[in-house]
Symmetry: C2
Subunit: 176 residues, 2 copies
DNA sequence: GCGTTTGGTCAGCATGATTGACATATCCCT
DNA sequence: AGGGATATGTCAATCATGCTGACCAAACGC
């Protein structure tokens, strides 16, 4: 498949140069795939190592992160953010409650709700994970420069769906 | 933990404004975490759906991608890129060979090596996955603009380790 | 009072990762 | 030619994280 390239058949009479543009575009997209794969791995590597020592995984980190980000979040909202099933969350969340990383409190207006928050212990662990990840991000931001950071943000926002974009805006503001 | 913020104790006599800067920096890092989580999910979502229909997972996609990117790659090099164990790769790779997505050929200089390449069938599937992912990336790139794309690349490179950065350079050139 | 919503829980399954141990073929150096 | 190192494959067992379907309990709200 070394000689087969995209959309060639679809442009049998493409103008001179169009073929080269397609090659260029493909190289650009392939590079993006590689960057996302290796970059995301670099981003998760250090927290993963810390979590391993505590017999936890990335799922636990996500709970710590989003509960810390939005204290008093309901189980339902957390499920919507993580986009996993109630059962999958339960298996991670219940042990975290039992071991005192997360607390539940009945909602004041709706008593069915279990509002989730981090305990001191949970917040301390979250901060350790945050610090590890912060170092990696700060380093990348410093090397790249502020303008690059802005570009990074724009592209990442574009990669996610509309729902996730709204979720991010909500997280940035507080809890509207 | 709503009132506890980073490094406060470490800067008891910080100048006016330093405290605000720390708040700002934390918000920046938290945003980066959210962007990477939701962005990466958006990036993998469409291929994941296609793969599901064929009873494959993300691991299969990674093999198709990197073998397609570097035809004739050795098992060892692929392992180094994916950073998984031989056994983990074997469970994904062997069925793909059996079902005719990937072929093996003995290395000409070193006959121990099994040089991996995509078959027509494998390349066709890889292209379907690529096309799905390309649409998402192109959309994000178009919305963000070329300058943002450059910034995105810089930051993502910064997030990965030195080894991954070299690997990306190697992939971009060909197979040095 | 009754249907709906929120949350928890049970049993079972798939995927993709892990480790340790061992086998085979080939390479390369002495 | 011998022998250690290298490249790959394979066995068995385990773990983490996702899934489904079914069902229950409590509280809401009309």
């Amino acid at each position: 498949m070394l000689t087969k390239r995209p959309d060639m058949a679809a442009m049998p009479e493409a103008p001179r140069g169009a073929r080269d543009l397609l090659y260029l575009r493909e190289a650009e997209i392939r590079l993006a795939q590689d960057l996302l794969f290796f970059g995301y791995r670099g981003f998760t590597q250090r927290p993963d190592r810390l979590l391993e020592e505590l017999d936890m995984g990335r799922a636990h980190h996500r709970v710590l992160h989003f509960v810390g980000r939005r204290p008093g979040i309901t189980v339902g909202d957390l499920l919507a953010i993580l986009d996993i099933t109630k059962q999958s969350l339960g298996r991670v969340l219940q042990p975290m409650i039992a071991e005192g990383y997360v607390t539940q409190a009945a909602g004041r207006s709706d008593k069915r709700q279990r509002l989730l928050s981090l305990t001191e212990k949970g917040a301390a662990l979250e901060r350790r994970l945050y610090d590890a990840q912060r170092d990696v991000i700060m380093q990348a931001y410093r090397e790249a420069g502020p303008q690059a950071v802005d570009g990074f943000r724009r592209v990442m926002r574009g990669l996610m769906g509309e729902a996730a974009r709204e979720e991010i805006d909500r997280l940035e503001k507080g809890t509207p």
